[in-house]
């Protein structure tokens, strides 16, 4: 039989014994109570006593009656007779009513009393008459009373004997009940011995189990203590059930008392909504939580927290919280991250430097290419003019007329002038790019400046028409007049260069609260939309500019100057052909601000 089966059998037997014990106890008690009730309801003795009394009073009456008949006929004797007959009647009355009456009826002796009463009543009647006459009582009545007394005595004897039988029977019954009770008590005692033995055995088993439990607990404590992590376990109420010393070192409880058995909330005096309490609450509903490394409020330590619910079968019975000191790991990781960030920053810096160098190189290359292209186009023409003129002069020699010489020399000079201009504008741009041009803003009359620029242009191209509209322009504008004059002259000369007469050139000023815009529009060749962004690159020439003299520097310089003023130059295609270039500079207020 298996151990569990044996245990079940023992438990069954114990239950059976306890039940038997209870049944026996109830049985014994029931029998005793029954007997007690019977004890209380015996009336034989009382009946016997009452019959004795009745008999006695009857006897006394007879004695008094004989005294009377023998001559004692004083009033007190009469009175005594009266009293005695009353007493005799009252005794019969007592045994014929109430419990005694019933007991007598049960003993079937009530007939005796009834006949005695009738005789007494007859005797009473004659007694009253005899007392009045002071005569003698008839002997027959006295004999009747004596017979009644004898009957009463006989009835008493029968009642006594019956009572003795009754008492004997009762005693037998009590005796049997007592024996039953004694046997029941002995059996109960036996059951008690068995139960006590079982109890002792269970106590021993319980002690053993407790020993085993204690050993288990000691082992659990050893396990807990050998953990490098802080461990605290809690039940469904949040009461601490296990706790190790690492936890104590990491988080000493504010109260010195043992934490085990206390509510963690109370032991650590945690306020409502504390992160630990929230974790515990979530754990007790079945969540396993992990809180990554974080600093603890006391000291510069870093910890990680883990919680797991503790299951018993399918029910959660509590939770366990691990706190791991990860300060060293965390610091090492932080250092690593710092190193990596530094490295990344360095790499980024280097890359940026390299990209900048590359860009600079590329720009220089583009510049160089643009420069070479410009030079090859723009410098070759005047140089070839100079060369062809020189060859002609050598070939013709003295045959050349003075006029022809002047004409040739004039051409040479024009070419040289053009070359000089190219060189100087290239140098200017270089200076501008190198930041060697001083910028000195002051108040000047921009309108006048524009009109003079137009006039100067007219000197070289008298056949061009300018439509100037500068009404919105204020009397003075804050700018560097020397630099702005270059921009305006450049935009006007471009308009002239890239359009043909008789198309007019519109110059218009628009002013809003922030900006002053000078718009120069022509009805010329315009520029391709896809080259708009390149127009302001140094040495860039639009496709539409082929065959027109130019260095590709002007717009670049114009934009650089405009930007020095905090403004810009932008290019737009004009509706109906041609292009519009807009110089935008901030109003003085804005500039001053």
């Amino acid at each position: 039989m298996s151990i569990a089966g044996k245990k079940r059998t023992i438990a069954g037997i114990t239950g059976l014994i306890v039940t038997a014990c209870a049944v026996l106890l109830v049985f014994a008690l029931h029998r005793l109570i029954q007997t007690e009730t019977e004890l209380a309801t015996g009336s034989g003795e009382s009946l016997l006593y009452a019959l004795f009394q009745a008999h006695d009073e009857e006897q006394r009456l007879i004695m008094d009656a004989y005294d009377w008949n023998n001559g004692a006929r004083q009033p007190e004797h009469a009175e005594r007779l009266q009293l005695q007959i009353d007493l005799a009647i009252s005794r019969l009355d007592v045994v014929s009513h109430g419990t005694l009456g019933r007991a007598l009826a049960d003993a079937k002796e009530d007939g005796v009393i009834e006949s005695a009463r009738l005789n007494l009543m007859t005797f009473d009647k004659s007694l009253q008459a005899v007392i009045m006459q002071e005569g003698a009582l008839p002997q027959s009545l006295l004999d009747g009373l004596r017979t009644d007394a004898g009957k009463l005595k006989a009835a008493s004897t029968r009642v006594f004997l019956a009572e003795r039988d009754n008492i004997g029977t009762q005693r037998d019954r009590y005796s049997s009940v007592l024996w039953e009770a004694i046997i029941a008590i002995l059996l109960i005692l036996g059951c008690g011995v068995f139960i006590v033995a079982r109890l002792l055995a269970s106590l021993r088993t319980a002690a053993k189990a407790e020993d085993a439990l204690r050993r288990d607990r000691d082992f659990s404590n050893l396990l807990l203590e050998s953990s490098g992590d802080g461990v605290i376990a809690f039940d469904m109420d949040g009461r601490c059930t296990h706790w190790n010393s690492v936890m104590g070192e990491m988080f000493p409880a504010p109260s010195d008392a043992d934490v085990i058995g206390q509510l963690i909330k109370d032991a650590y005096r945690l306020p409502e909504g504390h992160v630990i309490l929230n974790m515990m609450r979530d754990t007790l509903v079945g969540q396993s939580l992990h809180m990554p490394a974080h600093p603890i409020p006391t000291g510069n330590r870093y910890v990680e927290k883990f919680t797991y619910p503790v299951w018993s079968g399918r029910a959660i019975v509590g939770g366990i919280l691990f706190i791991r000191d990860v300060t060293d790991t965390h610091l090492a990781r932080m250092q690593l991250v710092e190193h990596r960030d530094q490295l990344e920053a360095t790499v980024k810096e280097r890359t940026r430097d390299l990209e900048e160098s590359l860009e600079r190189e590329t720009r220089l290359r583009e510049l160089y290419k643009g420069f070479v292209s410009m030079v090859s186009h723009q410098f070759r023409t005047p140089l070839s003019i100079v060369d062809s003129s020189a060859q002609r002069m050598i070939r013709r020699g003295k045959d050349m007329s003075e006029e022809e010489i002047r004409e040739r020399a004039g051409k040479i000079r024009m070419a040289i002038l053009r070359l000089t201009r190219l060189v100087s504008s290239t140098l200017n741009a270089t200076k501008l790019d190198a930041g060697e041009i001083d910028f000195a803003a002051r108040r000047c009359d921009l309108g006048k400046l524009i009109v003079e620029a137009c006039d100067r242009q007219k000197e070289t191209t008298p056949n061009r028409q300018f439509r100037i509209e500068l009404d919105q322009l204020s009397d003075w504008v804050s700018c560097d007049p020397l630099l702005i004059e270059q921009v305006v002259a450049n935009l006007i000369s471009n308009a002239v260069k890239y359009s043909s007469p008789p198309e007019p050139i519109d110059i218009r000023a628009d002013v809003d609260e922030r900006w002053i815009e000078i718009k120069v529009s022509d009805r010329g060749v315009g520029f391709p939309e896809d080259e708009r962004d390149n127009l302001f690159d140094r040495f860039f020439r639009a496709k539409t500019a082929v065959g027109v003299e130019g260095t590709g520097i002007g717009l670049h310089v114009a934009r650089t100057i405009a930007r020095m003023h905090g403004g810009d130059v932008a290019a737009f295609q004009r509706e109906g052909g041609g292009s519009t270039f807009v110089l935008r500079i901030p109003k003085e207020e804005t500039l001053a601000a």
């Binding site: 009293l83 009353d86 009252s90 109430g98």
Partner: protein
């Protein structure tokens, strides 16, 4: 009746000793006589340390004197009667209050047939002993436990539903001795 007999004998004795002694006794009796002398046959004699008396160390009551005391009524069944009965008479406590009985320990009740029983004084008062003279409206006579039957309100008090206590239900009561 025994008491009246005793009184009668004492009278004869006194007459035998001398008239002057008789006069002294009568005067002494008269001194203690702050209770009316019974006019009819004496039904009850109370002896002991009494505040009021109408005889030597005793108080004699006839029917009229008992009827003049506060009347009380109880209903109870008894072991000696069939069914519930209504008893009327004088509460023992009222009687003793009337007689000015104080600090009594025991009382001995004596019946016409010389039956006597002693009981603690306080219990008789506490359990409401009644000197019943009427049952179901009819006067009790010597032939049916009268003229005075000591009854208790037995039905409402389990403490006195006991054979030993039942012995205190003295019928044909004639004398109470207070000690």
């Amino acid at each position: 009746m025994k008491q009246s007999r005793y009184f009668h004998c004492a009278g004869l004795l006194l007459r035998g000793v001398g008239t002057w002694l008789s006069i002294i006794v009568m005067v002494t009796a008269a001194f203690a006589n702050d209770l009316a002398t019974p006019a009819g046959p004496v039904l009850l004699t109370v002896t002991g340390e009494l505040g009021k008396s109408n005889h030597t160390n005793s108080a004699l009551f006839d029917e009229a004197m008992l009827a003049a005391l506060p009347q009380h009524r109880i209903e109870t069944s008894t072991p000696w009667t069939d069914g519930k009965k209504a008893f009327e008479g004088v509460l023992m406590s009222d009687l003793f209050d009337f007689l000015g009985v104080r600090d009594a320990q025991r009382l001995r009740a004596v019946a016409l047939n010389e039956y006597e029983i002693a009981s603690p004084f306080s219990e008789a008062i506490e359990h409401g002993a009644l000197l019943a003279m009427r049952m179901d409206g009819k006067p009790l006579t010597r032939r049916d436990k009268g003229p005075i039957w000591v009854v208790y309100p037995r039905d409402g008090n389990p403490r006195i539903q006991d054979e030993r206590h039942d012995a205190r239900w003295v019928w044909q009561l004639t004398r109470i001795e207070v000690e």
